[in-house]
Symmetry: C2
Subunit: 228 residues, 2 copies
DNA sequence: TTAATTTGTTAGTCATAGCTAACTTTTTTA
DNA sequence: TAAAAAAGTTAGCTATGACTAACAAATTAA
């Protein structure tokens, strides 16, 4: 048990890098994550990530060999999970109690996730009666740091005739989330794939007696579980 | 009307300096505030404050002549008031909804006050139904930036026989606040000054049939309004 | 009114965290 | 398998915001 309790001396940047690396490693289930990939994800230069990775290696949150791929230590993963817990709890709070819509919460949660107070986040969790999912459908890690990834596939991976339930959406883009709501989709919507068009991979879908055509790019950001 | 809307490009440090200067100027009603005084208040070196004051003068939040005293512009005051509003609303939220005690809230609020989202703070205000006072008794500025200082004097300024009501406490020191609660004092307590001792300015006070002797230092941090 | 003390300023240093440009190593492709 | 491309690294620069040490101005005391 590597319980060093060195959780509160991380800078906002260090936290952001650890969370980003975790999301690439675990959530996007990439087999290997490289320096340039991390740089692109964080929208900084490869030189910046290279520099930060050095520091995080010295602090034993990250493992990698020179010119090799990146990985997180147990301690590094644990910090990342705590950040994701905070992020998702705050998003939930903003939607459920402060009248935020699901496209408004991410940017504010990016700030709030860096507030350092164990009591704050655990009490917020209790106050909301331990929610399981955030406003975008993603699972919220619990106070013990137990983390699991929602079983999901992208809408774009389905074939003609498949029926699925919308279980989560990518929360990164405001315009995407607004678009999803506008056409009438929401978490739990049942979606039937009418046709995947060969030419441009656009997809005709049906839900609530509505028929829409969505692009491949759109469908890549919609996460579903198959029903039929 | 100097409404430049340049409110969201300030660093945490810049915000902290403006708030500190405001608190020295307005809340502690100091006639003049100097560079070293600000440095001591913020627990940084005079060189650091001198440097930051230069930057804040360039941005037109602060006014001062070389070797002269410091003052805030309207814009500078406005930023400071918004920070104080955020600080006090968060303190109130933590106490009322998240089971924090009044000695636990200040440090977390120091972090939360720097979160940038107009909607967040105005919705938090609405959620709590527009509270007037924070957990330490201080007035919460409203959404229009209207700010007023609670009419108050220190307990240490009273004389033998005076009777007063506890209206606020200095929220800076955890050990002080714990001490206040422990002896049974709270906001609205009625306190009678039995005797101010010449020798060390210690004060015998009575409240709720309790008689206690408190030091001058203690009484400096207790804010009251006179009843008799 | 001079001398001592306090207050304020400047110069130079450090750490953090970005950047570009140049370079090296690894991987891919022809 | 050699050349090209991609990926990763390094050096050197910038800005922010701390610091100390040295100095100048203003205030206070003698
Ligand atoms: Mn989010
Ligand atoms: Mn989310
Ligand atoms: Mn406070
Ligand atoms: Mn307070």
């Amino acid at each position: 048990m590597t319980n060093k309790l060195n959780l509160n001396n991380l800078t906002k940047s260090e936290e952001d890098y650890l969370k980003a690396l975790f999301q690439l490693l675990v959530e996007d289930n990439a087999t290997k994550v490289g320096n340039n990939q991390l740089a692109e994800y964080l929208k900084v230069s490869p030189a910046s990530t290279n520099n930060m990775i050095k520091k995080l290696k010295a602090k034993e949150y990250v493992i990698s060999e020179k010119y090799g791929k990146l990985d997180l230590t147990e301690e590094g993963r644990s910090i990342a999970v705590r950040l994701i817990r905070k992020h998702r709890l705050w998003e939930t709070f903003l939607c459920k109690y402060l009248n935020f819509t699901w496209d408004e919460v991410h940017d504010v949660a990016e700030q709030l996730e860096h507030i350092k107070s164990r009591k704050l986040i655990d009490e917020l969790d209790r106050f909301m009666d331990y929610p399981k999912n955030d406003p975008h459908g993603e699972l919220i890690p619990n106070a013990n740091g137990e983390y699991s990834v929602l079983p999901k596939i992208t809408l774009s991976s389905l074939l003609d005739g498949d029926v699925c339930e919308l279980v989560a959406v990518n929360d990164g883009s405001v315009s995407f989330l607004k678009y999803v709501s506008e056409i009438g989709l929401a978490l739990s919507s049942e979606i039937r794939v009418l046709e995947v068009r060969e030419f441009d991979k656009s997809i005709r879908i049906q839900f609530n007696d509505v028929i829409e055509t969505v692009t491949r790019k759109f469908a890549d950001n919609v996460f579903v579980k198959k029903v039929v």
